[in-house]
């Protein structure tokens, strides 16, 4: 008896180890590899990037962006600003329903905007703080009112602030909505096992269902980039996000895989404490504009790009990349000039300034810090790297307990999202402590008008001021990298790094 059982177990093991034993999952299921496990699946409370990737299958937004950053219709078909730019009116798509069969209408939009604004722990409050009230004009027309003109509002609604959940489910589940989210996107929620998988299923009532070609999507988190790629190669995944730059050449050579890439709307930069705390006065960088200029001149952005990102990033000196329509061409990237940097340091009376550089412990940030250290040394800087775990480094930045800090920002489609909160006086993300009334005026001007030419003129002025003060020395813009099996077609890159599942096909 025992012997039989042993043989049976042995046979099972051998069968398990035979090729073909792995059930080939139906071509109708898209298996998506995420770089981390998302946080709460509630558009009001969510804060992670990977969460947004899942939402792109689950929750439609009022408006979306195109690959060239134009605002395009999604749940709203048209929109218009009032003459005084103080209200934004949306015409909603007729016949849209939520996953629970509830109707999507102007009342639902009002409910959602108010939920974003008032729910305890809402992450959208700041984004929507300009909105003072929401008017339901008729079932398919809704008007968002602001106290003062606020041009970035439309672009804000292309992300989580514009995601619409079913009011019925929202009211029933309240702060437990994330356990069973109900939206109006192409896929509906099936199950989530934390740190293992999130499963979604095609929603038959979707307004654009003719363009959805999968029955299911399974999101699985793999924190290690090598492991993520191994899973794609072994067929466990169909597509993965955030491929490591160093793996990109290998993917390009592999006939079974394809590479997707596009320049991000965010950036990598070095934030310098120039007024956030008393440290600004005692540090060489914080106290002298000349030394900051010398520091920037000592750096070779192309060199950093080659060493750290295999040449796949885009060097830049502003909050948007040089290929962005919003780049201030009047302020081009300065060339590396070690001789001039040395001369400036001599002028400042400090030929060998010490720079304490805080860097999060992520691989990219640490590598950047090391290259910066080596480059700045040639001009006479003594850069001391302080590698600090991310949550701790944020706290230090918040308290002003740093001299220089390497920080990445994921970016927003409207340049205002990369700019205002970082350089406006006393704004939440203004870690440098810059407070410049002339800059504040320009930043506010850029929000008052919806005319893009006028806004661009304001941003050009802002660039001139920021690039001279150097509260942040912008270094480069990474590329979003995806790898996917060649059975997948219809994949399109978007600069926000999110996925549009419409039009994608397997096999």
């Amino acid at each position: 008896m025992f012997r039989h059982a042993t043989y049976a177990a042995f046979a099972a093991l051998i069968m398990a180890a035979t090729p073909g034993a792995i059930s080939s999952a139906s071509a109708q299921t898209l298996k998506f590899g995420l770089a981390e496990d998302p946080d709460a699946l509630d558009p009001t409370l969510a804060r992670t990037f990977v969460g947004r990737v899942v939402f792109s299958a689950l929750c439609d937004k009022l408006v979306d962006i195109s690959p060239d950053l134009k605002v395009v219709p999604q749940l709203a078909t048209e929109w218009s600003w009032s003459a005084d730019n103080k209200s934004l009116t949306f015409k909603l798509r007729p016949g849209v329903t939520f996953h629970d069969g509830e109707k999507f209408d102007a009342e639902a939009v009002k409910y959602n905007i108010e939920r974003h604004k008032t729910m305890q722990g809402s992450q959208r409050r700041g984004e929507l703080s300009a909105v003072t009230s929401v008017d339901v004009v008729d079932p398919l027309t809704v008007k968002l009112n602001t106290a003062a003109p606020f041009a970035p509002l439309l672009a804000t609604l292309t992300d989580r602030a514009g995601m619409m959940i079913s009011p019925k489910a929202g009211k029933a589940l309240a702060d437990k909505f994330a356990t069973a989210p109900v939206c109006a996107g192409p896929f509906k929620f099936v199950e989530r096992v934390a740190q293992d998988r999130i499963v979604l299923e095609k929603f038959d009532g979707y307004w654009n269902k003719a363009n959805i070609h999968f029955q299911r999507i399974e999101f699985r988190p793999f924190t290690d980039a090598t492991v993520r790629l191994a899973n794609l190669r072994s067929g466990q995944l169909d597509i993965l996000e955030r491929l490591a730059a160093t793996d990109a050449p290998g993917v390009q050579k592999d006939a079974k895989l394809k590479l997707g890439s596009i320049t991000e709307i965010g950036y990598y930069g070095i934030t310098i404490n120039i007024g956030k705390s008393d440290k600004a006065k005692t540090s060489a960088l914080g106290s002298s504009q000349k030394i900051r200029e010398a520091f920037e001149l000592s750096l070779d952005r192309n060199g950093i790009n080659k060493v750290v990102f295999d040449g796949l990033a885009t060097p830049g000196n502003q909050w948007v990349a040089p290929n962005s329509p919003y780049y201030a061409k009047s302020s081009p990237i300065p060339k590396r000039d070690v001789a001039k940097a040395k001369a400036l340091l001599k002028e400042a009376g400090n030929p060998n300034p010490v720079v304490n550089l805080v860097t999060p412990t992520t691989t990219d940030a640490r590598n950047i810090a090391q290259v910066v250290q080596a480059m700045a040394k040639e001009a006479g800087f003594d850069v001391r790297i302080q590698a600090t775990e991310f949550a701790t480094s944020l706290n230090m930045a918040d308290k002003g307990d740093f001299e220089a800090y390497i920080l990445a920002w994921s970016g927003r489609p409207d340049p205002d999202g990369n700019l205002y909160s970082f350089h406006g006086c006393k704004q939440p993300l203004n870690y440098s402590g810059l407070c410049n009334p002339a800059l504040d005026e320009v930043l506010n001007d850029s929000r008052l008008t919806t005319d893009m030419a006028q806004r661009q003129a304001a941003w050009n002025k802002a660039a001139a001021i920021v690039l001279a003060e150097r509260p942040i020395i912008y270094l480069l813009h990474r590329k979003w990298l995806w790898a996917y099996g060649n059975k997948l077609s219809g994949f399109k890159e978007y600069p926000d790094g999110l996925i549009r599942f419409t039009g994608m096909k397997l096999g």
């Binding site: 099972a12 069968m15 709460a40 992450q123 700041g126 934390a194 944020l394 920002w409």
Partner: protein
């Protein structure tokens, strides 16, 4: 025996209470503010204030401890700040996975470690001993993450025999479950097998050179009986201790192995929780594993009683 058990059980509760205070206190020493860590990229000040309020982060530490331990005593471990699910639900989801991986790894460890240690001791100084030693050293000195990635590249990417990672519940698909667990259990098990082998070997060598074994042999007992009945039982005591400790370690989650094979167990849970300052989750997991450790030690003590009559005084 009953008195002994009763005594051990009586110190269980104060120990756990002490452990809970240590966990809670140490956690507060971590730099970094959970509210800021949770407030997303925008870090709106009002949102930060609300998160502090919602999760009692602005109450004094002793009040927070009492709130937490009071909840724990009623089975409420609090809520994960990051994914907004009850910690008890996370524990219930992850514990079976962790236990399964621990048991399978232990089986691999025992299956390789015990026979190898015995053979090595019985053939002391001869070639089987050397072979076992070399293999043992290899097992000890190979880093888990390296072995794991190599196995994935060979068995999943090249040969396509096993899934590269992921977990399937045995209730859903028993075969799929074994397929998913073979590699992680092997990676974890080989590391422990090496330690087991070394301990079994030295314990056996010591026992084999003792007087009563010589007596047993002298009175003409068959070698099988000498080894199996007399030597092994005595040599088992240190191996049981080690096994209990290693098993406890496995239950606290195998961080790297779980990351590589994407096994949703305690290791992954606690690492994410520490980085996100998700206090309630860290506390829940550590308390859970501390309890497991204490219970396992108790079981090990009971096992000594069973294998070694001299301890039953």
């Amino acid at each position: 025996m009953t008195r002994f058990l009763f005594r051990r059980l009586a110190i269980l509760l104060p120990t756990l209470l002490f452990v809970s205070i240590i966990i809670f206190g140490l956690q507060q020493l971590l730099p970094g503010d959970p509210a800021i860590a949770m407030a997303g990229e925008e870090r709106d000040p009002e949102t930060i204030a609300q998160i502090r309020e919602k999760y009692n982060l602005n109450k004094p530490i002793h009040e927070r401890y009492l709130l937490w331990i009071g909840g724990v005593l009623q089975g409420d471990f609090g809520e994960s700040i990051r994914i907004q699910l009850p910690v008890s639900q996370l524990l219930v989801e992850k514990l079976p996975v962790t236990i399964e991986l621990a048991i399978l790894s232990m089986l691999v460890a025992l299956g390789i470690g015990l026979p190898a240690g015995m053979i090595s001791a019985l053939y002391n100084g001869r070639w089987p001993d050397y072979v076992a030693n070399v293999v043992g050293l290899w097992g000890l000195s190979t880093p888990n993450f390296w072995l794991g990635i190599m196995m994935i590249l060979l068995f999943s990417v090249e040969l396509g025999w096993l899934p590269a990672s992921g977990y399937v519940s045995p209730l859903e698909d028993p075969l799929g479950n074994i397929e998913a667990m073979i590699m992680p259990a092997f990676v974890l098990g080989t590391g422990i097998a090496a330690v087991m082998m070394r301990h079994t070997r030295s314990a056996m060598l010591q026992v084999l050179s003792s007087d009563y074994i010589r007596t047993a042999r002298a009175k003409g007992l068959r070698e099988k009986v000498v080894i199996g009945k007399h030597a092994l039982r005595n040599a088992a005591v240190p191996v049981i201790t080690l096994g209990a400790l290693e098993f406890g370690q496995l239950l606290s989650g195998a961080v790297l192995t779980e990351q590589i094979f994407s096994i949703p167990g305690f290791g992954k849970l606690i690492v994410d929780a520490v980085f996100n300052r998700d206090y309630a989750v860290v506390q829940g997991v550590v308390l859970c594993t501390a309890t497991a450790y204490i219970v396992l030690n108790l079981l090990a003590d009971i096992a000594y009683f069973l294998v070694n009559p001299r301890l039953r005084a």
